[in-house]
């Protein structure tokens, strides 16, 4: 027992320190595929990240904010009735849904906003799909007294009116993006454009582990608190590491945050759950790791969904937060190195898991997280009763009740 704990501590301190390499690559993935106009800004950000990552005072302030503003540590919860339903391994939730603003997104925005302040930037910008990252960015900007501009696809603005209003209440300006598919990828393009033009006073809070180096590593590091806590909690509660981790993957930040501290624990299986939408055999999904190929999007080489001409495809998922044609490059690396497995869950399966989890546990998962729950039930069913499947309950489902009602033809 003591041996296990010591090994765990050493391994979790700084797993695979070598990646990304100095130029921001995870094997052949990642990198910095951006216009020269952005290079200086990314280098400045990288320098700041390297400095404050190891800065005791900065980390202390971050820890304090995570404790008192976000509400960390989030609990580890045994989903007993869901476990009984699956009839196999114990299903436990890492309750990121209990964080302030209702999802894991705040871990990253608190960290990046502190970094922005340390770098002397007066304004933060962010891209958002479902609005969760936008709300989390507007929240920290309000707290630190910074101006916040959120870029959001015109179609998403229509779909997520409540989150748009929340951002406005928090004092953020929401800019409607009318280009391309009018969703997350276009909002990201537009935020990048604004950043290029206003790089002197503006900090770009990217919301996921995608984008050019150092974002994939930076966002991972700020979210890795999820995995570190889960690791410790699981040891305390069950006297062992979990047997499998399950997390949904859009851009991949909640999954990366959970997986990262476990990467060197080879006995822990990792499952990233992508949005299979209306099925992986067609085009209406957002599963870049399961059904995509390697290309370059949003500043990094990674798996993505494009057509034969290399044009980025429109994607589909019932969950706006997973509806993205790319994925963080470290996930691409974990896939190719077979350290993690990536699987798909359809809209229908996710909706079924949404209801099941709500009824059986009294926990309404975000539709994103419902994808992870759906897979965890399948996974647990084939495992022994003394095993543990740890699911990242990355967000709560309050934001999705209109979507669910619409899909089921209910007007509220």
């Amino acid at each position: 027992m003591v041996e296990v704990v010591e090994k765990a501590t050493a391994a979790s301190a700084d797993p695979r320190q070598a990646l990304p390499d100095a130029s921001g690559h995870f094997g052949r993935f990642g990198g910095r595929f951006v216009s020269e106009t952005l290079m200086a800004a990314l280098e400045e950000l990288e320098q700041a990240w390297l400095k404050y990552r190891d800065d005791v005072e900065f980390q202390a302030e971050l820890d304090s904010d995570l404790a008192h503003f976000v509400g960390r540590p989030s609990p580890l919860y045994l989903a007993e009735r869901l476990t009984a339903h699956a009839g196999g391994a114990r299903i436990v939730f890492k309750r990121e849904d209990l964080n302030h603003t209702g999802a894991h997104k705040i871990n990253n925005t608190v960290g990046q906003a502190l970094l922005a302040r340390a770098m002397g930037k007066q304004r933060v910008i962010a891209e958002t799909g479902a609005g969760q990252h936008g709300v989390a960015s507007a929240t920290v900007a309000a707290r630190l007294g910074m101006k916040c501009v959120v870029y959001m696809g015109a179609d998403d603005i229509k779909r997520q009116a409540i989150n748009v209003f929340r951002m406005k209440l928090l004092g953020a300006e929401v800019v409607s993006v009318d280009s391309g598919s009018r969703t997350l990828k276009d909002a990201l393009n537009e935020a990048m454009r604004y950043w290029v033009t206003n790089v002197d006073d503006t900090f770009y809070i990217l919301g996921t582990v995608a984008g050019p180096h150092p974002y994939p590593a930076l966002v991972r590091d700020f979210n890795a608190v999820v995995g570190r806590e889960a690791r410790r909690q699981c040891m305390d509660e069950y006297g062992k590491l979990p047997d499998a981790l399950v997390a949904c993957v859009g851009g991949g930040s909640n999954a990366m945050g959970l997986f990262y501290p476990f990467i060197d624990d080879r006995e822990v299986e990792m499952y990233g759950v992508e949005a299979a939408g209306r099925g992986l055999s067609g085009l209406e999904h957002a599963a870049s790791l399961c059904a995509g190929r390697v290309g370059v999007l949003h500043g990094s080489r990674t798996y993505l969904l494009d057509d034969d001409a290399g044009q980025i495809r429109h994607t589909h998922s019932v969950s706006a937060g997973l509806d993205y044609p790319g994925v963080g490059p470290e996930h691409a690396w974990l896939k190719d190195s077979h350290r993690a497995q990536y699987v798909g869950v359809t809209d229908d399966e996710a909706l079924e898991a949404f209801h099941l989890c709500t009824r059986k546990e009294g926990i309404m998962p975000a539709l994103e997280s419902a994808h992870a729950v759906a897979w965890a039930i399948k996974q647990a069913a084939g495992m022994d009763r003394d095993q543990v499947v740890l699911v990242n309950m990355s967000g709560r489902g309050d934001k999705d009740i209109h979507t669910v009602a619409d899909l089921e033809g209910i007007s509220i």
């Binding site: 130029s23 990198g31 910095r32 595929f33 951006v34 216009s35 020269e36 106009t37 952005l38 290079m39 200086a40 800004a41 280009s179 391309g180 990828k185 276009d186 393009n189 990048m192 454009r193 290029v196 033009t197 790089v199 390697v294 290309g295 370059v296 999007l297 949003h298 500043g299 993505l304 494009d306 034969d308 001409a309 290399g310 044009q311 980025i312």
Partner: protein
Amino acid sequence: MTRFSNRIDRRFAELAERGRTGLIPYVTAGHPKPELTVDIMHALVAGGADLLELGIPFSDVMADGPVIQHACEAALKQGMTLDKVFAQVAEFRRRDADTPVILMGYMNPVERRGLETFAEQAAEAGVDGLLIVDCPADEAADTTRVFDEHELHQIFLVAPTTTESRIERMAPLAGGFIYYVSLKGVTGSAALNADELAPAVDSIRARSDLPVAVGFGISTPEQARAVGAVADAVVIGSALVRKLDGAESREVAGDIVADYIGSIRAALDGLDESAPVEARA
């Protein structure tokens, strides 16, 4: 550090000899209509362009402003593809064997075609240079190697924020010319500050023997003249694309090009007092 010489090098050598400031217009292939692109290219040359930059339409033009973004979307909607871009260049080449053509685009369509195949087809069509916006020198080891084999220059951007050490690292990979973007922003944003230009261009020249072209934010003849006073060539992009937007026929597009590019050419030539008369004709 030029490893071979192609139309771009020959054209800049001629320009230097004649004391003429180069004019490099940019248009998006397939905008405003795919069937007008080749005519527009010829009209640009007739109007005084020395090199042509042709944009490969892409769905996610992260470094471009709203004008070029719109042009790309319009071109894609009308069925533009990479094969059609190559076909347009090949067709242009049938009547113009000398004017260098540079394709400007993004990495993903290049990779999807396959780097080798892309380079082979580009060279075959008569392309001379590639400007891959999201492939900075840091990521260009493979592309420059393959493009070299096909005698295609990879052109790199230098921004106001680019450090001297970055220019030094970029110089050995760069071919054709260095493209200095006079603004921090995306294509087509705001106006440039010509006063800040001279030291920046000097800094590049101290680190590379290649000619320096300046673009981003140049729209009026006056701006072109001011930039032309310090740069070897001037790039006109978004302003031209904006003017061409909505042009329905060859005649209308031709008139727009003749008027606008003609006015820029005249402004640049007004500068070249020492140039022989025939060069300004």
